[in-house]
């Protein structure tokens, strides 16, 4: 039976889709049968980040409406074995994601997969609520910036009150913090909230810190999840994150500036 993980945040543009793509890819690379679902109805994007946009025939809403079955809609990743993508619909009808429909599709997927990763849209409307409703665990993606942290706290409140687990009084959704787009030198200068600041405010366990990195943009340009760029800092940070999720204890990297020598600082060497 699969574990359902929602990647959520409240705020848009913080790195949910980037994280969903790399997280799902990392799980599949490690041998787990993984499907990643785009819940952003009307604003399909995960397909582009995963590089499978030209192979989309049917989508999530088609399956909910019984216009296609899962086998027809699931896209098998060409690079990584065990990895499947269920794209979002481009329909403008947000009501298309019914609770019953989503539940039926998830139940069907649960049988054949180890992990179901739900890429949530921004906001706290239906798409976001449906993405988190059935979750067992949540990756809360946050940027070190005031509005993102506040929105994450709001989402934590919703996970604790409006998820199926909350409604049934089951064990609560397990929460993980993913601090994305982190710039250690700015945090050190006191211009940006630090890892510790965000942890202190949100009070949930830290799963990973993803540094702000040019490679993320380049890899989305190419349609390659950044975790596959294993020589890049962001890619390595996502690999660590996946390993930690699976139970390894690894130190957090890329969270502090390299200590530069006095002369280096004086003459601006890097």
């Amino acid at each position: 039976m699969a574990t359902i993980i929602v990647v959520t945040s409240g705020k848009g543009g913080v790195g949910k889709t980037t994280t969903s793509a790399s997280f799902a890819t990392g799980l599949a690379q490690r041998g787990y049968r993984t499907v990643v679902i785009d819940f952003d109805v009307g604003l399909r994007n995960l397909d582009l980040i995963m590089g499978c946009e030209r192979r989309v025939v049917y989508d999530f809403v088609n399956v909910i409406n019984n216009e296609a079955n899962l086998n027809q809609a699931l896209i098998r990743d060409k690079r990584v074995e065990n990895l499947y993508i269920l794209p979002a619909s481009q329909t403008r009808d947000k009501e298309a994601l019914t609770k019953e429909g989503v539940e039926r599709v998830l139940n069907e997927l649960k049988v054949g997969f180890d992990y179901i990763v739900c890429d949530s849209p921004a906001g706290i409307e239906r798409g976001a609520l449906m993405a988190l409703y059935f979750a067992d665990q949540a990756l809360v993606v946050t940027n070190p910036e005031v509005s993102s942290v506040r929105d994450s706290d709001r989402i934590l409140g919703i996970l604790a009150s409006r998820s199926l687990r909350a409604e049934q009084g089951d064990e609560p959704v397990k929460e993980h913090l993913v601090l994305a787009r982190y710039a250690p030198e700015r945090a050190d200068r006191g211009d940006m909230l630090s890892v510790d600041d965000v942890l202190e405010i949100l009070g949930i366990p830290l799963l990973g810190v993803i540094p702000e990195s040019q490679t993320v943009l380049q890899s989305s340009n190419a349609g390659v999840p950044v975790i596959l760029e294993d020589s890049s800092e962001a890619g390595a940070a996502y690999s660590d994150l996946v390993d930690r999720f699976l139970g390894k204890s690894l130190p957090h990297r890329f969270i502090s500036t390299q200590k530069k020598g006095f002369l280096q600082r004086l003459f601006g060497g890097s």
């Binding site: 910036e145 942290v149 409604e167 945090a187």
Partner: protein, 99 residues
């Protein structure tokens, strides 16, 4: 070395400290608004369940009670899912028995 360090390194900015302080205040306030779910909710749910059960057989998972608070107003949402028709006819009305 200390001295030279402090000469050549710009003083740390207070920007993040201010952000943290403002966030702590607003987040604490907003949590207060949503986490104080009134303590009558579990009892209300239990009594609702008892009342509905006099007429229709339902179980606990079919009654959902949810309180939403936004600035200045509260919405109490009750959601009771009834079973299919066929399952219902076998249930005797509570006062029909006896005598």
């Amino acid at each position: 070395m200390r001295l030279l360090d402090s000469i050549f390194r710009p003083p740390p900015s207070k920007s993040a400290a201010l952000a943290k302080e403002r966030l702590q205040i607003i987040v604490t306030h907003e949590r207060g608004n949503r986490r104080n779910s009134p303590d009558y909710l579990p009892a209300l749910k239990k009594e609702l369940l008892e009342v509905v059960r006099k007429y229709v057989p339902i179980d606990q998972s079919q009654v959902k009670v949810h309180l939403d608070r936004e600035d200045g107003y509260e919405v109490l949402e009750l959601n009771i899912t009834l079973p299919e028709e066929e399952q219902r006819v076998t249930q005797p009305r509570p006062n029909d028995g006896g005598a």
